[in-house]
């Protein structure tokens, strides 16, 4: 099967997935307690104001009709307007997405820089104190809650040492230095979590390839050990790691809810949480839908990479 056909088939399969997601988001949200119109009407609960809000946002129409109106608009690229601050949701998405992408990229960099070498080292030095330490650190990275690590890093680097800002975000073009300094701590928080997974996967994949016949052959040909590890073993071990990386990246893109909240980074996660608290239906629906689409697309990308990297996949399947 050609790569083009494969991608096309996967893209077509994307449509029912996203449709299902949209139905899920829409119906799950109806289960949220609290009437958005009442939440919007303020402390006074003026009945006329409540009724006007219901009518304006079609909240007085049957659910199926509400869904149809929403889906129709979404297909035209119109996600509606935030119930809370009246800003078009597409505008909100467009301004938040680059922030979250930047944070995801930085976190991935941290994860790769920490996770890959640690995995390779602990696989080549299996059973040594180094392997043990790397495993311990990776497990801690996986298990430490993001909000706790975040607060600790803020207290150390911002409050105690005063080296980095405690929170906030500036775009790279308005203040490149501040952009980097504000992203550093959250990238470490998110990156260490992913690095743990990376390290564990790299380690087991490396251990498998290091046992393979061609590695033994390479060693028998007295290829230097550094080349054996990096060129023969690592390259083959990378295939599952690429897949993992793409999936983890997708997860990061769907919004690092707690981390964005703690570091006050105006990305997808913060948009989503604030949306839920304010019963901002339009925002929540759009964020979840776009995140789901991104996630599915990145999964597709992972499969494609796998397809490219692994010649055996191209045969039948």
């Amino acid at each position: 099967m050609s790569l083009g056909l494969y991608i096309a088939r996967r893209l077509v399969a994307l449509v029912p997935t996203l449709l299902l997601v949209s139905v899920l988001i829409f119906s799950l949200q109806q289960l949220l307690p609290g009437d958005p119109a009442l939440a919007l009407a303020g402390e006074d609960h003026d009945p006329a104001a409540v009724a006007a809000i219901r009518a304006k946002y079609h909240l007085d129409r049957p659910l199926v009709v509400q869904y149809r109106i929403w889906l129709g608009n979404v297909l035209r690229g119109d996600f509606g307007e935030s119930l809370r601050n009246r800003i078009p949701v597409s505008e909100l998405l467009a301004s938040k997405l680059p922030v979250t992408v930047e944070l995801a990229v930085c976190s991935m960099l941290v994860a790769l820089l920490l996770g890959l070498p640690a995995g390779v080292l602990s696989a080549t030095r299996k059973g040594t104190p180094l392997d043990f330490t790397a495993n311990l650190v990776a497990l801690s990275g996986l298990s430490v809650p993001h909000f706790w690590l975040g607060i600790m890093l803020i207290l150390l680097f911002a409050v105690r040492l005063g080296w980095l800002p405690a929170s906030g975000y500036a775009t790279p073009w308005e203040d490149p230095l501040r952009n980097l300094t504000t992203l550093l701590l959250p990238s470490i928080v998110l990156g260490t979590g992913v690095a743990g997974v990376m390290m564990r996967h790299t380690r087991s994949a490396m251990m498998q390839t290091l046992d393979a016949d061609y590695v033994r052959t390479a060693r028998a040909k007295s290829v230097p050990e550094r080349l054996v590890v990096l060129k023969h073993a690592l390259r083959n071990a990378l295939i599952p790691i690429i897949t993992l990386g793409a999936i983890e990246f997708g997860r990061l893109l769907s919004g690092a809810v707690l981390t964005e909240q703690i570091f006050n980074i105006p990305g997808f996660g913060k948009l989503l949480v604030d949306g839920v608290f304010n019963r901002d239906y339009a925002v929540v629906q759009a964020v979840v839908l776009v995140s789901a689409a991104l996630y599915v697309l990145l999964n597709l990308l992972a499969d494609v990479l796998y397809f490219v990297a692994n010649p055996r996949m191209r045969g039948g399947a």
Binding site: P33, G34, D35, L38, A39, L40, A41, G42, E43, D44, H45, D46, A48, A49, A52, I53, K56, S82, R84, N85, R86, I87, L92, S95, K96, G150, I151, I154, L155, A158, V159, G162, P165, A166, S167, G168, Y169, W173, E174, D175, P176, L177, R178, Q261, I262, F263, N264, P266, K270, L271, V273, D274, F277, N278, R279
Partner: protein, 502 residues
């Protein structure tokens, strides 16, 4: 050589681009949440008011002790029977777009508040029937009924004046680029990120505005907010939680001040709203017994480390309208038991709805234990806030635990909660003699006369007890010692006049 030079140039560019306003003074304020639309007519969230204090001047303002003072209006004069009021306006005031502020602008703004669909100001000034422009600098507001508290409404969002030209141009998207006549003009807003304003060169009182630029940063997590204050990223934070006070007080670089809030925490009791009103409605001795079994001082001391103020009336003990003849009563369990026996329900049991919020959950547990000692079984039912309020409206409750943010005029703290068929009278309490006093107080301009009327309402309400008022919070503002000239106001809103950054 050329490499070094390019590198130096690059660094220079980055440094220059990095901080274009470093020479100016920038005040960074942490907000507890992201405000909603920055349009005074449709704004609803409390946090928006902190931003409006920089952007939009109001016709009047209140002093820290709640006296009404001029802002964009210089004086007011009530017409016959308080059915109209004439406002004299400040000359030479300009909106941020250079448009003049005058009587026409006032008329436009009042009519906009009344006519905009989804206006949250309509319920505050709905009694204004028409606005007459007398001359360029005076207007008359004609009322459908006498309403002295109207002036207090004009000290908040209903009194904020926006540029008519900008409002017409931007329509219902005005809130995304507000144009008012306040000390600062709008620069930009990054939703969930920040709101930036800068000093308005043509402000009518510019001599008193020192800080050049203000950034409002919504940080929902209180630990993160406090950390940002301690690290110096933020200069001020609003509504500091009592549990964070110790850390601020321990830090020599920081300060915190508190002032009694305008509102109160309360438990409305269902007196006559549907069949569930049978449990606590009827005999007022039942409600008096509950009241007597509660030790408010202990609640304030144990849960809030004495940072809040025990209360029993619709205004806090620090308010000039507090009736000092009826201070917070001492707990009297024996008397409570006796009242219940007399009312024929020695084993009273009822359910209170409490939202999943720490302060009220903890207080409910303490209340439960206190009432148990008087033989009263109080069941706690947790319910999400908006759902609880809906249940309150429907009458599907015996008691629920809520709060009122408070208004500067006492009328705003009592009228709609207690008048028969009042918009917020979920208890469905109805008392003709109380109604007469409440209506008379709305028509009386003399504060001393009004005080007498409200003193009488307090007496009636403490006997009938349709709501248990429990405590008043203090609004705490935390700030860096570099911030000077800060005066706390009971509404918790930061005033920028006289504020300096050293």
């Amino acid at each position: 050589m050329s490499w070094t030079r390019s590198l130096l140039a690059l660094v220079a560019v980055i440094v220059l681009a990095a901080d274009p306003v470093s020479a100016q003074s920038i005040l960074r304020i942490g907000l507890n949440d992201d405000p909603d639309a920055l349009d005074p007519t449709i704004s609803r969230a409390y946090t928006g008011r902190l931003v409006f204090a920089a952007l939009c001047d109001k016709l009047f303002d209140v002093t820290p002790d709640l006296k009404i003072v001029p802002q964009l209006a210089t004086s007011y004069e009530w017409g016959p029977n308080q059915r109209s009021v004439v406002l004299k306006l400040r000359p030479g005031v300009k909106f941020h777009d250079g448009e003049p502020f005058n009587a026409e602008a006032v008329r436009f703004n009042i009519e906009r508040h009344l006519a905009t669909p989804g206006s949250f100001r309509k319920s505050e000034i709905g009694e204004v029937k028409s606005v007459d422009v007398i001359n360029d600098l005076s207007v008359r507001l004609n009322l459908s009924e006498p309403l002295v508290p109207l002036l207090a409404a004009l000290t908040d969002r209903a009194g904020m004046m926006v540029s008519p030209k900008a409002a017409k141009e931007l329509g219902d998207r005005f809130g995304t680029r507000p144009v008012c006549a306040g000390p600062y003009k709008f620069v930009e807003r990054v939703a969930q990120g920040k709101i930036v304003v800068e000093r308005f060169a043509d402000y009518w009182d510019k001599a008193n505005i020192q800080i050049e630029r203000i950034e409002f940063l919504p940080i929902t997590d209180s630990t993160a907010r406090l950390a940002s204050l301690r690290s110096g990223d933020l200069h001020m934070i609003e509504r500091v939680s009592p549990s964070d006070l110790a850390q601020i007080r321990a830090d020599a670089r920081l300060k915190v001040v508190g002032i009694a809030e305008l509102g109160y925490q309360m438990i409305p009791l269902n007196v006559n709203n549907g069949p569930r009103g049978k449990v606590l409605g009827g005999d007022p001795r039942i409600r008096q017994a509950i009241d007597l079994a509660i030790d408010r001082e202990t609640i304030v001391k144990t849960i809030f480390g004495n940072e809040y103020i025990a209360g029993n009336q619709f205004v806090s003990p620090t308010s000039p309208y507090y009736n000092s003849k009826f201070p917070v009563r001492k707990r009297d369990v024996a008397k409570a038991r006796q009242l219940l026996r007399e009312a024929g329900v020695p084993n009273l049991a009822f359910t209170v709805i409490v939202p999943p919020e720490r302060d009220r959950q903890e207080a409910a547990l303490v209340l439960q234990a206190m009432l148990a000692e008087a033989g009263i079984t109080m069941t706690i039912q947790s319910q999400e806030n908006v759902t609880m309020l809906q249940a309150g409206r429907r009458g599907d409750f015996e008691a629920y635990f809520t709060f009122w943010s408070g208004r500067p005029d006492p009328d705003g703290n009592i009228y709609t909660f207690n008048i028969c068929n009042g918009g917020q009278n979920d208890s469905h309490y109805c008392n003709a003699s109380l109604d007469a006093l409440l209506i008379k107080a709305r028509q009386t301009a003399d504060p001393a006369e009004r005080k007498k009327l409200y003193d009488q309402t307090t007496e009636i309400l403490l006997r009938d007890l349709p709501r248990l008022i429990l405590w008043h919070r203090r609004v705490f503002t935390g700030f860096n010692a570099k911030v000077q000239g800060f005066t706390p106001y009971p509404d918790g809103i930061i005033r920028f006049r006289g504020l300096k950054l050293s």
